[in-house]
């Protein structure tokens, strides 16, 4: 624990870099434009929250960051997203490589119908790591990292479907940690969970931001306020406001942001 905090402290003293620089991103599902001229700079090693009413394009945007959006047929984009300086929307950018560096946690826990161990070892295995000893270490480390080790260490060979919803979600986070991503994308990771599990995941996110850059979509504004450094407010496919979280929640610059935050629509 101490060592990692120490490491994180050193990290914090360095100047932070931009992980994702989105410039003039447009996105269409067929003829329906879901993202309009998005410009966002996301910094490393902090939590960036994306809020906005349902259907405003939050999921679309976060899925574009690891090009998962390509799985939807008929999606077109223009503009660019630089990840660590390279345009990932460039067709020559290999998606598999991008996704080994950018992990994703989904709205509904989606463990594989395999054992807990196999779930976590899946990522390293598909990337060619077969050494059992190393895999064991990765699995333990990742499960610890996701604060679920103590709960599952005695039943690693059991099917992941035996876990509760909250545990499953933390397992999915562990699975994502196993390939040591640079960025973790989370699309409403707690919306399917009960309040206690939600709290655990939130604590975990706080812990993880020391080592990872985290982008989290949430429809829960308190959550955004609690865990994020910066917040982007999306509306109808546009970024209305993007700034420090405490600023957005105390003195929003835009009327629409204020209306949303104060619950006038959403």
């Amino acid at each position: 624990m101490e060592t990692s905090t120490a490491a994180a402290n050193i990290v914090n003293t360095e100047e932070k870099q931009i992980v994702y620089k989105t410039s003039d991103l447009d996105l269409w599902y067929g003829d329906n434009q879901a993202l309009k001229k998005i410009n966002l700079d996301i910094m490393e090693n902090e939590v960036t929250a994306i809020i906005g009413p349902s259907g405003c394009g939050k999921s679309t945007y976060i899925k574009t960051l690891n090009r998962m959006i390509e799985l939807v047929p008929g999606v077109r984009t223009s503009g660019e997203i630089l990840y660590r300086g390279k345009n990932i929307l460039d067709k020559s950018y290999q998606v598999e490589e991008l996704r080994t560096k950018v992990g994703m946690v989904f709205q509904k826990p989606n463990p594989f119908p395999k054992s807990i161990y196999e779930n976590v070892a899946y990522g390293p295995k598909i990337h060619g790591i077969r050494d059992k000893k190393i895999l064991d270490q990765i699995v333990e480390k990742s499960l610890r990292g996701a604060a679920i080790w103590d709960e599952v260490k005695d039943r690693l060979t059991q099917n992941a479907y035996g876990l509760s919803g909250g545990q499953q979600q933390r397992l999915c986070i562990a699975r994502c940690l196993a390939i040591e991503p640079d960025v973790i994308l989370m699309d409403e990771p707690t919306s399917a969970l009960d309040p206690i599990s939600t709290l655990k995941v939130e604590e975990l996110v706080q812990e993880l931001k020391k080592d990872f850059s985290i982008i989290i979509v949430t429809h829960n504004m308190q959550q955004a306020a609690r865990i994020s450094k910066k917040t982007a407010f999306f509306l109808n496919g546009e970024v209305i406001e993007f700034s420090e979280t405490n600023k957005i929640f105390s003195t929003p610059a835009d009327k629409r942001t204020e209306d949303y935050i104060t619950g006038r629509f959403g």
Binding site: A7, I10, K101, P124, H127, G128, L177, I179, E180, L208
Partner: protein
């Protein structure tokens, strides 16, 4: 740790928390990148698999093409010896003649027709009654018992039905109808009817159960009896699925082979009577295949001409069933 912390680039942050557990820290990302470099060949599988899979999918298309081409080519060879006109309008099918046989397919079609009509007369009412019973009246428990039994019935090999027709149904029918010959149209017709009943029952039941309950409740609330609901509300609403199931069942009956080969006889004729021996298109193909007919003779090619006719009949029925389901799909 210090070394790791000084690198702030991608992949180097993998040391998170590891140090607390293991002294030999390592970076998974680094290992992944190394493995990537080593085996860039993995991309080949990724690229060629879609093509290999496409080839397997192409086999089913090739099968259809193979069937059509085979039938067409061999049928053409048959038409070198027999005129198309004789084949389709001739009233005598008598291929096994020393000099030159007669190849008028009408008697074979007549045989198929008789058996099919008898089968439909048996299967349609029973199949529909079962479907109505299962979807409208049966309790969940009854349904859970009866449906698997119907599945069993549908899975019994046709040779077994043929045996049943010849050694059980025919003798019983001969007790009732003394003029019935050992080989006849009636017995295999009835048994084919029994064979296709489960298919009609289960497809029709599917169509009826997908009629929304709200429609039933609407009628029941007006005081309609269950029977009235079944006949006046559910049947009309599910009619396209029901008709399609009947058409598919008839298509099966037309193509059915072993039951008629065993119990129908081998006397092609154009008579309307159903107590005498007949021959269907399928039974003729079996008869020739079993005998020692030389390759390349007119008789050899005749089975393809008959097979072609059979294929067209069933194809038309199947397309009709698909058309009915698609054209009259109920929108609830």
């Amino acid at each position: 740790m210090v070394k790791c912390a000084s690198h702030l680039v991608i992949g180097m942050k993998g040391v998170f928390k590891l140090a607390t557990q293991n002294t030999n820290s390592f970076s998974v990302q680094k290992m992944i990148q190394e493995k990537k470099k080593k085996k860039s060949a993995g991309g080949i599988t990724e690229k060629i698999m879609p093509y290999i899979l496409f080839l397997t999918a192409a086999v089913s298309v090739l099968t259809t093409i193979g069937i059509v081409l085979t039938l067409i080519f061999e049928t053409f060879l048959f038409f070198d010896a027999v005129s198309i006109k004789e084949f389709f309008t001739g009233k005598v099918w008598y291929p096994f003649s020393e000099t030159n046989g007669s190849f008028g397919i009408l008697p074979l079609i007549m045989g198929t027709l008789k058996v099919t009509v008898i089968a439909a007369i048996v299967a349609v009412p029973i199949g529909l009654a079962s479907a109505i019973y299962l979807s409208e009246y049966a309790t969940d428990r009854a349904r859970r018992i009866i449906k698997p039994i119907l599945e069993v019935l549908a899975g019994i090999p046709t040779i077994v039905y043929g045996f049943f027709a010849l050694t059980f149904v025919t003798p019983i029918l001969r007790d009732i109808i003394p003029s019935l010959e050992i080989f006849n149209a009636l017995s295999p017709g009835i048994v084919i009817g029994i064979m296709i009943t489960p298919m009609i029952a289960s497809l029709s039941e599917d169509a009826m159960t997908s009629v929304p309950n709200a429609m039933r409740e609407g009628a029941l609330a007006l005081g309609a009896t269950k029977f009235e609901v079944a006949i006046k509300v559910v049947l009309p609403a599910a009619i396209s699925g029901i008709v399609a199931s009947i058409v598919l069942g008839i298509s099966r009956a037309i193509g059915e082979t072993m039951i008629v080969a065993v119990a129908g006889g081998s006397t092609p004729n154009l008579e309307w009577n159903i107590t005498g021996s007949i021959q269907t298109m399928t039974a003729y193909i079996v008869q020739v295949s079993q005998g020692d007919v030389g390759y390349g003779t007119t008789i050899y090619y005749s089975i393809y001409a008959v097979g072609m006719t059979l294929f067209v009949f069933t194809l038309v029925m199947n397309l009709l069933a698909q058309y009915i389901t698609r054209r009259f799909r109920e929108e609830y």
